[in-house]
């Protein structure tokens, strides 16, 4: 079978091989490797066979640790097995990796190398995870490109069965895993040709079987363990040879020759860089470029890093080498050097002393770090490394790619240095996530790669925000293979597309444009008037760089052709029309072919809609006659306002403006600590429409504010006198709060922070009696309101927050007088999680510490540049931290233990110092009622008084000094442990169970979206039966785990199941009760999610239907009631009133199964209906049990 040229990313290229060479695949989602698991699951669901004709079994596990365990078991019983992972996931596999390697069992782990979380989490690429496994005994095989990722995947699978050494095959996360490139795809015949059937048979023969039983995993003692450990040496010694043999066979098959260490460069090179991963390709291309200009440079690419074959390394080096620099894409603080460097030093040393070196004089060896967390590694940086080697005293232990003004480690480099191939076309596109730009560019690069003779590469840079996110696509294509694993540089692009006009005022889009480049702008202004609407800086660049400037009103074309907000096809057509990659007619034919291929299975209407968009595009594409002079008075906006704090302006502002790469080391916090309340400075203006309040209709119920995911709609009651000086359009009405009479009331929207989700309008119950379509809150276009409402918002912020001691927040209405201390997050527009998080911040924020599991809530809660956790007027607010995905419950418990211990110690010290402190204060402190805000305020005042006294005492009384440091522990503190269902039901379940069982006073909030939302919707044990999710592509066949019921078994855990769209009051009550309960609390909160495939504006409606159908019964289980002789279980929702389908089939996750496999959908839905019925019946019976047993010790009867 001939090999095809395909244009795919490395995840797909690798999974393609791994799937075909495996029988059992254990999977678990983790960025950036999830794609490999998703493809495997989808292929298995579609019954695609492996190379031997059987469909691999794909099993999702509860964690990477679980996946490693399953791999271990599968290989022990003789299966060909693989898994995919990265970063912390790989770290969780380490214990099993030792075992797998120790038992000499073949297996392959494919790893998208990703940063391990230290001072911060990063989803991006470096080798810190892989380096943490180099001692496990696994072979480590590195790829540096998409083509290599596929090829090395095969080499790893072939070599593992022959060598018995398990393999970890890795490539750079995102840079390689997500780069789309044109590669030659291997055939199944290629794969089978390298797989040694005899070795496979031997692997199976070694498997555990009762037919020929053995024991593995014994406990050994000092007498033999050491000797036994040394028995594996021959296998490790043989492994490099086997790998090279497989590589040689591979070369005979495909023509692509790899070596354990591949040398490229001048045969007589004097300066050589040694490195692995994608950076090697950059270094090699740079050396080639510089050698052509007279330099003598070389690069060694490390493929087989473990077992490390020193002889093969030195053999690869030219005898002329005088200086070697080893570059590591990892940091090992405190080490004598990073790992690859130390390996090379050892190898060279042994080669020289052992006499097998090709050179007489040992070269000098230096080292450096580059590319942590996908930091760019460009030819300019590679050149700086080569240049440094030529210095009289080359520096070592340097960094390259950053400006280290703290420890002066960094090399300087010339950012203007470029090795760009003149035959390659480079294009940069700016888009919004929602407009489909990336999808269109992936499509374009596929068309160019697969339908022309060109080579093509695409790489896509995404935002840290989930709503209103900016995407930047970097596309290269041309007659030569594209070996450039770095972004297109400034002034290097021949084509710049800006798909959103508003970007021009905040992003320097044209910095990428080369002289004479094409600039395509999606503009509501036509060719005649657009010039006058461009910022001055844009006009300057267009003129200075002599750009050819085109405009199209893509949104108008999209609206006319039914495309809505998706302008992908339109902009793609423009790109092909202007760029001339293909003749216009042919390009349009290819685009249409591609539309049919991409969308055909979604139905003819979709295809036709896109065809129509293509057909209407060219008539609306216009070239702009560029004037000779800059005329604009419009200036680009500052990233943050001038009145922002210094740190926000200088550090976060740089990140917002896409200039974070330029920040020097000294500007960044040393330990990952950042100030809170910074989202307020990042005005994103992403809403097309915002809510407008109608005071005449408003009933002041607070529902709009309650449900707002971004805390942009707020209410205040205040003294009427404060309205003096209010902006002209500031609205107010008489307040209707009985506890605070005689006040004015305002609902105000933050116009520049709103995402326009309209959940508030959906929640608003007040309708105009003369025109029911008009509510007390209605959406209206943002631009005309922006200026006035921004002023109103600023004024609103100057009004004082309501005095918390004047009212109880026990009603939805009252609760919304509390200031949200979680605001303007980057969560999806209409997010179903954030309203719950915000509620925690309102009710308890000034005394809460949050332990946040990794996931959506840690990303919108803690992703830079700005973070949403905020402070009140006293500077108090939630303190927040994220540890890991799997340990969040334990992390939160640790916090509780400290708080309790400190409180206990403080009480001891207060008692000890009582004589000096005075009885009144001591008694007040120790017997304080802190059950409400008034009580907490009084205690804070007492603690302040205490501190004053202690300050006076501290000189003569050391215990006073100690008490001063922990006195705040006397004020009640809440610990909220927050995370999603992936954490609570799966990876963190063991810890959660233990923490709930501990009886300690922690509050657990599970934001239940029923999938791993943050990684794109993989199934968890919370995923309901009959729903489709990634890793459950056939529809989940088993019911949702009942976490609440499991926790009820303890009898002393407060549990509530809530859905604010169904009952906001029940939600509020549950949160208040959970916090008040002096023991562990668990709230499971229905969180509608983009992963459900719903119109997010209807999220609350879906919550209501979920409850009405009985799918999500509302209840509270309050153990405190048992002492009162009451049943602790209170069901707060009614018996199901609508069929499950009425709820479920409004969601794409259920409907798509109906559309793809109706028979299975019906069978699963029938079973799901039974699930609902049975669960309801069980709850009903449990809630009906008599609990009138009085504790005899308390003098009651026991029935």
């Amino acid at each position: 079978m001939p090999r095809e040229m395909v244009t795919i990313d490395a995840n797909e290229a690798t999974a393609y091989v791994a799937y075909r060479l495996s029988e059992v695949i254990a999977i678990y989602p983790i960025t950036p490797s999830s794609g490999m698991g998703e493809l495997s699951d989808a292929w298995s669901a579609a019954n695609i066979p492996n190379a031997w004709g059987t469909v691999p079994t794909v099993m999702e596990m509860q964690s990477e640790g679980g996946a490693a365990g399953a791999v271990h078991g599968a290989i022990q019983t003789g299966a060909l097995t693989t898994t995919f992972t990265a970063s912390q996931g790989l770290l969780l596999m380490i214990p099993n990796m030792y075992k797998i390697a120790g038992e000499l069992t073949p297996a392959v782990l494919h790893v998208t190398a990703r940063t391990v979380a230290t001072h911060a989490l990063s989803i991006f690429g470096d080798h810190s995870d892989v380096m943490a496994t180099r001692q496990t005994g696994f072979a480590l095989l590195a790829s540096r490109s998409v083509q290599e990722a596929q090829d090395m995947a095969l080499i790893a699978h072939a070599a593992t069965v022959r060598s018995r050494i398990p393999f970890l095959h890795f490539f750079d996360g995102f840079r390689t895993s997500h780069e789309v490139n044109k590669i030659e795809q291997l055939t199944v015949e290629d794969m089978l040709a390298l797989m040694d059937e005899k070795a496979i048979a031997e692997h199976r023969a070694r498997a555990l079987s009762p037919d020929h039983p053995v024991v593995r995993g014994t406990a050994q003692n000092p007498d033999v363990f050491f000797q036994a450990r040394e028995t594996c040496n021959p296998y490790y010694n043989a492994c490099p040879g086997i790998v090279q043999q497989v590589m040689d066979e591979f070369a005979r098959l495909t023509g692509r020759q790899y070596h354990l260490f591949d040398y490229a460069g001048a045969a007589d090179a004097e300066r050589v860089i040694i490195l692995m991963g994608s950076g090697a390709e950059t270094a090699e291309e740079t050396a080639k470029f510089l050698n052509a200009r007279g330099e003598k440079l070389g690069v060694v690419t490390v493929h087989l890093y473990r077992p490390f074959d020193a002889r093969a390394l030195v053999k690869a080096l030219p005898a002329t080498v005088k200086h070697i620099t080893v570059l590591d894409r990892t940091k090992e603080p405190g080490a004598a050097g990073e790992p690859l460097y130390k390996d090379v030093v050892t190898a060279i040393n042994e080669a020289v002393s052992g006499g097998f070196a090709p050179f007489k004089t040992a070269p000098s060896i230096t080292c450096g770090r580059y590319g942590l967390s996908s930091k760019e590694f460009t030819p300019a940086m590679a050149k700086a490394v080569f240049d440094e080697m030529a210095a009289p005293q080359p520096r070592s232990h340097f960094t390259v790619g950053i400006h280290d003004d703290l420890s002066a480690t960094s090399l300087t480099y010339d950012p203007a240095f470029s090795i760009a191939n003149p035959k390659t076309v480079r294009c940069v596109f700016f888009g919004l996530g929602a407009d489909g730009t990336v999808g269109a560019n992936k499509n374009s690069i596929k068309i160019i790669g697969e339908e022309t003779n060109n080579y093509a590469q695409g790489y896509f840079v995404y935002d840290s925000k989930k709503s209103g996110s900016v995407t930047i696509s970097h596309l290269r294509f041309g007659p030569d293979p594209v070996r450039a694993p770095y972004l297109i540089g400034q002034g290097d692009a021949q084509f710049v597309g800006c798909h959103q006009f508003t970007f021009l005022e905040r992003l320097d889009v044209l910095k990428y444009a080369a002289e004479g480049a094409v600039f395509l702008l999606n503009s509501m202004y036509g060719p005649e008037e657009v010039w006058d609407h461009l910022p001055r800086e844009v006009q300057q660049q267009i003129i200075a760089k002599k750009l050819k400037f085109y405009v199209i009103d893509a949104y108008e074309v999209a609206a006319k052709t039914g495309m809505g907000g998706r302008i992908n096809t339109i902009m793609q057509t423009c790109f092909f029309a202007i760029s001339g990659v293909l003749p216009r007619e042919e390009a349009i034919e290819q685009i249409k072919y591609s539309i049919k291929k991409t969308y055909g299975k979604r139905g003819e209407a979709v295809v036709q809609k896109n065809f129509e968009a293509v057909d209407h595009t060219l008539a609306n594409l216009h070239e702009v006659k560029v004037p000779a002079a800059v005329t604009s008075t419009i200036r680009m906006r500052d990233a943050v306002p001038a009145n922002a704090p210094e740190f926000v302006r200088e550090v976060l502002g740089g990140m917002i403006a896409n200039q974070g790469d330029d920040l020097p080391v000294s500007k960044l916090p040393v330990d990952g600590t950042f100030p809170t309340a910074t989202t307020q400075w990042e005005k994103r203006n992403i809403a097309l429409e915002i809510p407008v309040w109608e005071p005449d209709l408003c009933i002041q119920c607070g529902k709009c504010s309650f449900v707002c995911p971004h805390a942009v709609i707020r209410q205040k009651v205040y003294d009427p006198k404060l309205l003096a000086g209010a902006p002209e359009t500031f609205k107010s009405t008489e307040a209707k709060f009985k506890e605070i009479p005689g006040m004015r009331f305002t609902i105000q929207v933050a116009p520049e922070d709103c995402t326009g989700c309209a959940l508030c309008v959906e929640a608003c119950p007040a309708k105009d009696k003369t025109q029911v379509g008009r509510k007390a809150i209605n959406m209206a276009p943002q631009p005309p309101l922006r200026a006035a409402e921004s002023k109103n918002w600023e004024f609103f912020l100057t009004l004082p927050d309501a005095d918390r001691s004047l009212f109880e927040p026990t009603t939805v209405k009252n609760s919304q007088l509390l200031r949200p201390l979680f605001e303007f997050s980057g969560a999806c527009s209409g997010c179903g999680e954030t309203p719950y998080v915000k509620l925690v911040s309102q009710l308890f924020g000034d005394r809460t510490i949050v332990a946040n599991a990794t996931g959506c809530s840690s990303i919108y809660g803690g992703n830079l540049p700005t973070t949403p956790w905020a402070v009140n007027h006293e500077g108090r607010g939630p303190a927040w931290a994220n540890s890991l995905f799997e340990d969040n419950a334990e992390f939160g418990l640790g916090m509780r233990l400290t708080l309790d211990k400190q409180q206990e110690y403080a009480v001891e010290l207060v008692n000890a110092l009582a004589p000096q402190l005075g009885d009144v204060l001591v008694e007040g402190l120790l017997k304080a009622d802190q059950s409400n805000d008034a009580g907490i305020r009084a205690q804070r005042e007492r603690v302040e008084a205490l501190k004053k006294k202690l300050t006076a005492l501290e000189k003569k009384e050391p215990r006073a000094r100690t008490l001063l440091t922990i006195a705040d522990a006397l004020v009640k503190k809440s610990v909220w442990i927050i995370g999603g269902d992936g954490w609570a039901y799966d990876i963190g379940y063991g810890g959660l169970d233990h923490v709930l069982a501990s009886g300690r006073n922690v509050n657990v909030l599970v934001l239940d979206t029923e999938v791993y939302s943050n990684t794109g919707g993989q199934s968890s044990k919370s995923t309901p039966r009959a729903a489709v999710a990634k890793f459950a592509a056939k529809g989940k066949g088993l019911p949702k785990k009942d976490l609440g019921m499991i926790a009820m078994a303890y009898g002393y855990v407060y549990i509530a199941k809530v859905a604010m769209g169904a009952s906001d009051q029940q939600t509020l009550r549950a949160f208040l009760e959970a916090d008040a309960y002096e023991g562990p609390s668990l709230i499971i909160a229905y969180s509608h999610c983009i992963n459900h495939g719903i119109d997010m504006q209807k999220g609350l409606e879906q919550q209501k239907l979920a409850v009405q159908s009985g799918f999500w019964p509302l209840y509270r289980y309050n153990p405190a009631l048992i002492d009162e002789g009451k049943n602790p279980l209170i069901i707060d929702s009614k018996e199901p009133t609508i069929p499950l389908e009425e709820y479920a089939y409004k969601e794409n996750r259920y409907r798509m199964l109906l559309q793809s496999d109706e028979a299975r959908a019906e069978a699963l839905m029938k079973a799901a209906r039974e699930d609902v019925k049975k669960r309801w019946e069980l709850y009903r019976q449990m809630a009906a049990i008599e609990y009138n047993m009085r504790n005899p010790e308390n003098g009651g009867d026991q029935k």
Binding site: A42, H178, G439, K466, K601, R602, G603
Partner: protein, 336 residues
């Protein structure tokens, strides 16, 4: 032995009781049960142009929503192999029903435009349908569409579909036409072999507590028979097409009335939904007994026997008829 057989759209039917387009035809099993109960043909539920387009666009929207925006979640759903958002599953169902039952199966197509979707008519024919019912279902809300334009659209559509297929074609109409007889004739001239009177619209209701407009479909009631009965009676013998009566057929007597007015067949669904498929057998038995009691030999004998053409006072179906009902109603009121 009375002869219940009838001819509709050239199809020889064992009796005039046909299952109208309804959810019954979504399952082979229920159709089989109705066949066992004696119905003579089944009209499939409608393949809705609007529905197909909507499902396709909705699927695309939700599969695309939020994608390629955030690095960790470039998509939100697995890419499944195929989706039955086109007419394929409908066509497969026709094939399955045809294989499972021996009564004729009439496909039903619902649409308002003359676009590419009329291809579906041909596909329904290819799937084995014995005839096609074109269910034109359109609420003319625009102030800019005149009745002439609207009627012309219908006529063009019928002609378009006629060109696509060789099997008989029936057109199901709404009662809201100003000059129904003339319009009916135009439809027949455009190629309709039969007219089905009338389809029933989903009528929205108002919830006066929540102030929401709520979609609502209630089962037909026997009173609804009157409207189609009159128009069948008026059209019978005057347009060259078979007539079918639908709406309000709940008993054997209703079927007899329809036949006497001129309907070759009566179509029922609400009666079966409310009482189960066994209701068909009851209705047929009722017809038989009535015919025996009143000594009718066959349905053909009574067909159109009380149509406007056949009654002694044709005007009774026209305006006077209205006056008479009104006065009898007044008399009843007075009698209270």
């Amino acid at each position: 032995m009375v002869d219940l057989s009838t001819t509709y759209l050239g199809l020889q039917l064992k009796n005039p009781l046909v299952v109208s387009a309804s959810p019954f035809s979504k399952k082979v099993d229920t159709i089989r049960k109705l066949e066992d109960a004696g119905v003579s043909a089944v009209v499939m539920y409608s393949l809705f142009e609007e529905q197909i387009v909507h499902e396709s666009l909705a699927l695309d929207h939700f599969l695309s929503q939020g994608t390629e925006s955030f690095a960790e979640a470039l998509t939100y759903f697995p890419d499944l192999d195929h989706y039955n958002v086109g007419p394929e599953s409908y066509l497969e169902l026709i094939q399955k029903i045809k294989a499972a039952v021996s009564i004729p199966v009439i496909g039903s197509l619902n649409g308002i435009s003359s676009g590419g979707w009329v291809d579906y008519a041909r596909k329904i024919e290819q799937a084995g349908a014995d005839a096609l019912e074109l269910n034109i279902y359109f609420i003319p809300a625009s102030l800019d569409i005149s009745s002439q334009e609207l009627e012309q659209t219908y006529v063009d559509l019928v002609a378009d579909v006629r060109r696509q297929i060789h099997i008989p074609l029936a057109v199901k109409l709404s009662p809201y036409f100003t000059a129904l007889p003339q319009f009916a004739r135009r439809l027949v001239q455009a190629g309709a072999n039969g007219l089905v009177l009338f389809n029933r619209f989903y009528q929205p209701d108002l919830d006066i507590e929540t102030l929401e407009v709520v979609p609502n479909l209630v089962l037909s009631s026997p009173d609804e028979l009157r409207l189609p009965l009159r128009w069948i009676a008026m059209l019978y013998g005057r347009v060259q097409a078979d007539l079918a009566l639908t709406s309000g057929v709940h008993s054997g007597r209703d079927v007899i009335k329809a036949a006497m007015a001129g309907a070759s067949v009566s179509m029922a669904a609400s009666a079966f939904i409310a009482n189960g498929p066994g209701k068909a057998a009851e209705m047929l038995e009722e017809i038989k007994q009535w015919m025996e009691e009143y000594e009718y030999d066959s349905i053909k004998q009574m067909l159109g026997s009380m149509s406007q053409k056949a009654v002694a006072e044709p005007a009774v179906f026209e305006r006077a008829n209205y006056m008479k009902v009104l006065s009898s109603f007044d008399n009843r009121m007075r009698g209270l």
